[in-house]
């Protein structure tokens, strides 16, 4: 381990402060620059005709009427991309056995999910393109559709890819200790539950958007991108459109939310780029909300049969489950759709000492939209599963569930250690977090209050979750398996002639405040005011090479690279200053835009003076001196696959037992993301994540008919949580810096989404259990809860 170079015991001017984001003013003034704000000369607009059915052979496509509509410029079918786009396959070598079929941007001879793009219409306006798309006649021969996850592997179920013997995409088993020996004991109690997690999706304010512009004179492809991973997309466009990688520029200006939805390869976006190359003109494609529901990746979709065994004195002895998850007809490229199941296997039970553990995950193909990584990949499943069983077990042995947690959480003083499933864990604080949570929420008082209110016919419950979160991943996540996904990121910082600095970083901003965090670190470490810092992110041409945003890594990895670059630039500047001021560099420092005397703190020279001398009046410098006022540093995590964080959360809810409506009264989250660079932004991340988690637990679900029709494609039918239903979300922090970096920052972006569903589910079951029933079908809708309550003893 690198270990801290120095400690940040004293709060900095910016690091650790709830500094305002510099870009909010611009965004609130309506000066944001999103893909749709960009207008290029000669630009055309694309719309896609999507498959109306889940599974069919394409017999013919008649575009004759559409072609003759005024303003239609080109109509492209799947076959038109053969030879233009190299097919892609969503597999990774470290997920042994994972299989998927080659994909093209548009369906070629078979459609495999309702919503799959089939024909691309390019026209002078989006409205004309949509007019034309509605005039295209698709002659489809229906095929039986495999839509039921639980039947996907049955012998008589249609097999989606004829080259495979079944709809199985991947399978993995973990077997640690010996669960069977535990079951054989007679001093143990076993609880058994089935968990059903419906599909949902990330609803971004700005839907997916792409402009592709191709210049044949230089064989140059420019992509204006609303997404998270510009360098990954640079590789993908280059490889699959056969353009040298350096001739592809991917630029993301402002991005209106992403949540993992925008870190994948979508056929409609690849088709847009391929068509731009073919037509040598810029083409814009904006997904509308309707097609976003059908084509943005969905998430979750798990059926889990599980059991937990505890001793009568409250020790967790064994955990066992089978997870079946449906991913649509293909594994998504390039991250694959097996990562979520893999995460479930790795993370379930991670906060606890569980000596015996057996789990199997099967990932199956279905004729539904594709499933892939969305905020907190696997975490909500893993946490709801383990902590749900834990609450059941606590009830079964008549022990308060908080007490059961206390007896089984991995103690704070045992790190570094390894989880049951082999994850390296370090610098965690489960016990501290739980104690702080209990204190914040005044648990004993709340419990008593609930009991009193129940006598008056009010049904209130409390639910907990202790959790871990994967952050700051190393190359072990994707790179090792052959994916073009960097886990290292870089920062370049340049001292400008005016004395301000410019930071270029390869991590990206989607609205969460990454740029502000980078500016805070640079300003503090280098020694200028934040308003003298400019930040560029999201541009493959002008930033260092890196992975972008995923798996909660912006501050922890991107921030560390900025830290290192700022230190390096400072050393370089002080070297120059030493010569100019005839002082030893170690006697000098930088503060508030000036080179100062380290002891007296007296100003010696402004940075502007220094920079202007170097840039304009080099004649004043010794001729053997070649000053560098720019520094680049990169950072990656080396000693551990991931830097885990932990948290403890709780929800207080009320169930209207006559209507099945759940009201969340209060929510508490204690989170340990290591060094908190900006507490306000961390709180926002936690709160936003919790809100999404509440959505998963109570509202959000992509509903399909038996024949694979997505039934809710508007925000009137797909319910997202709204401000009026949200409780106060109280956030508490514990700071256990990671030893893997100097800053010590871990990630915070996914904790809320990972932990909140478990809390809500557990709180509702806290109400149901005394009534003799439980419900583990998520989301917990009024319909499902009323159904459960029909057999309750009230």
């Amino acid at each position: 381990m690198t270990g801290p170079k120095f400690s940040f015991d004293k709060p900095g001017k910016y690091i650790g402060q709830p500094t305002e984001r510099p870009d909010t003013r611009r965004l609130l003034k309506g000066r944001g620059k999103f893909v749709d704000d960009i207008q290029l000369p000669r630009m055309l607009h694309a719309a896609f005709l999507r498959s109306p059915v889940a599974h069919a052979k394409i017999k013919s496509i008649d575009t004759s009427i559409a072609e003759n509509i005024k303003g239609v410029v080109k109509i492209l079918k799947g076959t038109d991309f053969i030879g233009i786009v190299e097919p892609y396959v969503g597999v990774l070598s470290h997920l042994a056995g994972l299989r998927s079929a080659p994909q093209m941007p548009l369906a070629v001879d078979t459609v495999r999910w309702q919503g799959e793009p089939v024909v691309m219409v390019i026209a002078n306006s989006r409205a004309i393109a949509e007019d034309a798309a509605s005039e295209i006649i698709l002659d489809l021969e229906d095929l039986p559709a495999a839509t039921n996850t639980e039947k996907a592997l049955d012998k008589d179920e249609p097999v989606i890819h004829s080259e495979f013997d079944s709809n199985l995409a991947w399978e993995r088993t973990v077997d640690v200790g010996n669960v069977d020996e535990v079951y054989a004991r007679d001093d143990v109690v076993t609880v058994e539950k089935q968990f059903l997690f419906g599909r949902h999706t990330g609803v971004t304010l700005e839907a997916r958007a792409t402009i592709a512009n191709y210049d044949p004179s230089e064989n140059q492809l420019d992509i204006y991108y609303s997404g998270q991973a510009p360098h990954m997309m640079q590789f993908i466009y280059a490889k699959h459109l056969d353009i040298p990688e350096e001739n592809v520029r991917v630029t993301a200006h402002d991005v209106g939310g992403a949540f993992g939805i925008k870190v994948h390869t979508y056929g409609d976006e690849i088709a847009t780029a391929a068509a731009a190359k073919l037509m040598e003109r810029p083409i814009k494609f904006l997904a509308d909300r309707y097609e976003s529901f059908m084509s943005d990746i969905h998430a979750r979709d798990h059926v889990i049969n599980s059991k937990m065994t505890v001793s009568k004195d409250g020790k967790i002895l064994a955990l066992e489950y089978d997870d079946l998850t449906g991913i649509g007809p293909f594994s998504m490229y390039p991250r694959t759709s097996a990562i979520e199941a893999n995460q479930v296997l790795n993370l379930t039970g991670g906060p606890y000492t569980i000596p015996n553990y057996r789990a199997n995950a099967k990932v199956v193909f279905q004729n539904k939209n594709m499933m892939c990584q969305y905020r907190a990949v696997g975490h909500p499943i893993a946490m709801a599963l383990c902590d749900g069983l834990l609450e059941e077990a606590a009830a079964a042995i008549n022990l308060d569930s908080v007490e059961l947690r206390k007896r089984n959480l991995i103690p704070d003083d045992t790190y570094p250690t390894t989880s049951t499933t082999g994850m390296k864990l370090d610098d965690l604080s489960h016990q501290k977090a739980l104690s702080k949570l209990i204190e914040m929420m005044d648990y004993e008082k709340l419990k008593k209050e609930n009991a009193d209110l129940k006598k008056q016919g009010m049904y209130r419950g409390i639910g907990f979750c202790s959790m871990i979160e994967v952050t700051n991943p190393s190359p072990m996540f994707y790179g090792i398996g052959g994916a073009p996904i960097a886990s290292q990121d870089g920062a370049t910082i340049r001292l400008d002639a005016g004395g301000g600095i410019h930071v270029a970083s390869s991590v990206t901003e989607q609205g969460q405040g990454t740029n502000a965090v980078l500016a805070q670190v640079a300003a503090d470490v280098f020694g200028v005011d934040m308003d003298r810092v400019q930040v560029t992110t999201g541009d493959t041409k002008t930033t260092p090479y890196g992975g972008g945003t995923w798996a909660s890594r912006g501050a922890g990895i991107g921030g560390e690279a900025v830290y290192l670059a700022a230190e390096a630039l400072k050393d370089q500047v002080l070297d120059v200053a030493g010569v100019m001021l005839q002082s030893k560099p170690e006697d000098l420092n930088i503060d508030n835009g000036h080179v100062i005397d380290n002891l007296s703190k007296e100003k010696r020279m402004s940075l502007a003076d220094l920079a202007r001398t170097v840039y304009y009046r080099g004649n004043e410098l010794p001729s053997d001196m070649s000053p560098e006022l720019i520094a680049t540093r990169h950072f990656r995590v080396t000693d551990t696959p991931f830097v885990f964080t932990n948290g403890a959360m709780a929800a207080h809810v009320e169930l209207d037992i006559e209507t099945g409506i759940v009201k969340i009264l209060n929510f508490w989250a204690v989170e340990d993301c290591g060094r908190v660079i900006n507490p306000m932004l961390v709180d926002e991340q936690i709160r936003g994540g919790v809100v999404q988690g509440i959505g998963h637990a109570l509202y959000e679900e992509c509903l399909y008919s038996d024949d694979g029709q997505l039934l809710n494609t508007t925000l009137a039918d797909y319910l997202v949580p709204m401000a009026t239903e949200m409780p106060e979300i109280h956030v508490g922090h514990i700071e256990t810096p990671t030893k893997t970096s100097v800053l010590g920052a871990k990630g915070a972006g996914e904790a809320g989404t990972g932990g909140a569903p478990a809390c809500i589910i557990n709180a509702v079951n806290d109400i149901l259990r005394p009534l003799g029933v439980t419900n583990y079908q998520i989301p917990m809708t009024p319909n499902r809860l009323l159904d459960t309550l029909r057999s309750a003893k009230i």
């Binding site: 039934l711 809708t781 319909n783």
Partner: protein, 284 residues
């Protein structure tokens, strides 16, 4: 999505609007507040050839007392209804219910005529109008007729309105404001269309239910009046739990329609809960 192309007309008076509506057999749709129609057009669920924007027709925007009834022009917006002194004075039930309709941004544009014409089975106002014994005035270029609210709604998005007619006003007898009313609806989120709801009215200053109306909404293809529940209540004391229970039980046996998230059994359960709570909340 973008709407398909259409011809746009902005008539300044009612007779021009009616003439346009009559002019040929094209698909012609009137545009009121646009809160439902605009999204339907963008989804291309509605693809009118001609859109007749009613927003310039001042004669449809008034609330007036005409003899023994109050006339509400079809283009009166929810927000105007809420602020109208006439409505506040005569129909506190309407004032009570308006905040349950959508959100204020939608109520700033949405109109009573639009709601009535749309006939969404989950909408509040159609049921309220039935309890108030309102009538809907329909005009075409050569005639005007009046249909009782109870007979006006036919099914999901379906009314007795003919394609050459406009809803021009909603007329409510001043005398029909009940002495007591109760309203309850179940929604998962604030401002959503209800998943079940009930309006109960009783016209009696004393202690017993009288001339009771019970209308359920959001549980079937149109507002559901429940005569058996009304009969169970009529003549009985407001606090007579047996008759109230009988009224609630009488909801069973009606035919309920599922929606995307709620099956028929849930609809029935929630209809009964709504009725129970509406009765429990009877005011006045």
């Amino acid at each position: 999505m973008k709407s398909s192309a259409f011809q746009y007309e902005l008539p300044e008076d009612l007779s021009s609007a009616l003439k346009l509506l009559n002019s040929n057999d094209l698909d012609i749709l009137p545009l009121a507040g646009g809160q439902s129609l605009m999204p339907m057009m963008n989804f291309r669920v509605a693809q009118p050839d001609i859109l007749i924007d009613l927003n310039k027709i001042d004669s449809l925007k008034n609330i007036t007392i005409e003899g023994d009834y109050v006339r509400i022009g079809s283009m009166v917006r929810y927000c105007e209804l809420e602020q109208s002194e006439i409505i506040q004075k005569h129909f506190p039930l309407i004032i009570h219910v308006i905040p349950y309709i959508a959100h204020s941004a939608i109520r700033n544009r949405g109109t009573l005529g639009g709601s009535v014409s749309l006939a969404d089975p989950a909408a509040e106002m159609p049921s309220v109008l039935i309890t108030l014994n309102a009538s809907i005035e329909l005009s075409s270029s050569n005639s005007t007729r009046s249909v009782n609210a109870e007979d006006f709604f036919k099914g999901i998005f379906e009314t007795v309105r003919k394609s050459n007619e406009l809803v021009t006003s909603i007329n409510i007898p001043v005398s029909s404001m009940p002495k007591k009313f109760g309203f309850y609806e179940v929604t998962r989120r604030h401002g959503d269309y209800a998943i079940a709801g009930a309006v109960v009215t009783s016209d009696n200053g004393q202690d017993n239910f009288n001339d009771t109306r019970v209308v359920l909404f959001a549980v079937s293809t149109k507002p559901m009046r429940v005569p058996k529940s009304e009969a169970a209540l009529n003549g009985n004391n407001f606090n007579n739990q047996d008759s109230i229970n009988e009224a609630i039980d009488a909801v069973t046996g009606n035919s309920f329609e599922r929606d995307l998230h709620n099956d028929e059994t849930t609809k029935e359960t929630l209809a009964k809960v709504s009725l129970k709570r509406a009765i429990g909340g009877l005011n006045g």
